[in-house]
């Protein structure tokens, strides 16, 4: 029972993701998020953080994995609430439109 439910959920997610990509909504949301993050200074904040990390590690020894590990938690935390709300609202409307399918 539980396993079948998990499978159902996974199928649902896959279908929804498929829908997101097919309609191009995912690209639109990504673009919107990028613009909003640049607008609110998220990028500059992260860059400043990056500089510290890179200086700490040394310019030559920086890898992408290091950066992702250091930056992603900080990035998630730094997204302003307004941007988060707007994005979630758009995702919800998309789901409402396509949930019946």
């Amino acid at each position: 029972m539980v396993v079948s439910k998990m499978n159902k959920d996974a199928q649902m997610r896959a279908a929804i993701n498929q829908k997101l990509i097919e309609t191009g909504e995912r690209e639109r949301l990504k673009e919107l998020l990028r613009a909003k993050l640049i607008e609110c200074g998220w990028k500059d904040q992260l860059k400043a953080h990056c500089k510290e990390v890179i200086k700490e590690k040394g310019l030559e020894h920086v890898t992408v994995d290091d950066l992702v590990a250091e930056i992603t938690p900080k990035g998630r935390a730094l997204v302003p609430d307004s941007v988060k709300k707007e994005l979630l609202q758009r995702i919800r409307t998309f789901l409402a439109q396509h949930a019946s399918l």
Partner: protein, 354 residues
Amino acid sequence: MKMEEMSLSGLDNSKLEAIAQEIYADLVEDSCLGFCFEVHRAVKCGYFFLDDTDPDSMKDFEIVDQPGLDIFGQVFNQWKSKECVCPNCSRSIAASRFAPHLEKCLGMGRNSSRIANRRIANSNNMNKSESDQEDNDDINDNDWSYGSEKKAKKRKSDKLWYLPFQNPNSPRRSKSLKHKNGELSNSDPFKYNNSTGISYETLGPDELRNLLTTQCGVISEHTKKMCTRSLRCPQHTDEQRRAVRIYFLGPSVVLPEVESSLDNDSFDMTDSQALISRLQWDGSSDLSPSDSGSSKTSENQGWGLGTNSSESRKTKKKKSHLSLVGTASSLGSNKKKKPKPPAPPTPSIYDDIN
């Protein structure tokens, strides 16, 4: 079974919310990943720290945020006292007034150029020495003799056109004018200019000649402009056209519709006589070559020069000729006091005389 149906048909709110959050987290992670790639590339390519400068210079270019100062730390109403020196008149003018001043001073624009020209002319006159004025006089003399010559012609030709407006003594005056070329006052050229208008003064001799060979060219009384219709335009007569051509191109020019024999006749006279005779020819248009000799004698008599022809013929001729070109023949002879308007010449009259 029931649960499966629910999840199949649709998701309840909490599940939808969970999926939305998941998608959002995905998107943010995507952005972070993209940013990390960007930074990593910048670091490896060596341009990540390029926009950094040392703190000292950053301090130098810090944005100043104080009342009364602009962002560079300067007093921002300084420009009010700025003054510019005009390159033309070398006066210093407040910067805010400089552009309008320059417009007037350099004479750009319509009104301004008039003002400026007048001002320059005035200052030149004030500064002129006497020698300069003499030079100007010489120039004026040249203009004047050119103009007055034309004017004499113009007056003669005028007579043919505007007889009612001329007083009977005018032939005398124009004659004397022509003989005293060098002694006239300077005001005459200006009169001449006023009477002819501007439009053809701007034309060169070649342009004028071209114009007169292709167009009517008769000068309007009202507009002072030349008629631009064809040589056969119905609004003006052949006499008017010929008079205009004489006025501009001189009597020696071969005109359309004038017989060559007439030209030969006029060539053996002196210049002034040639002019006058030509004007008479113009008055009586369409003279046949057979008439030329006799009418010439009558002109000469009119001027007191030709006395060779017989008396009877002379009187005969004079009558007919005077009736045709009353004023022209009364130029010199005082026998005719009142000029008559020129009757339209008809070839039949001449045929009768002959």
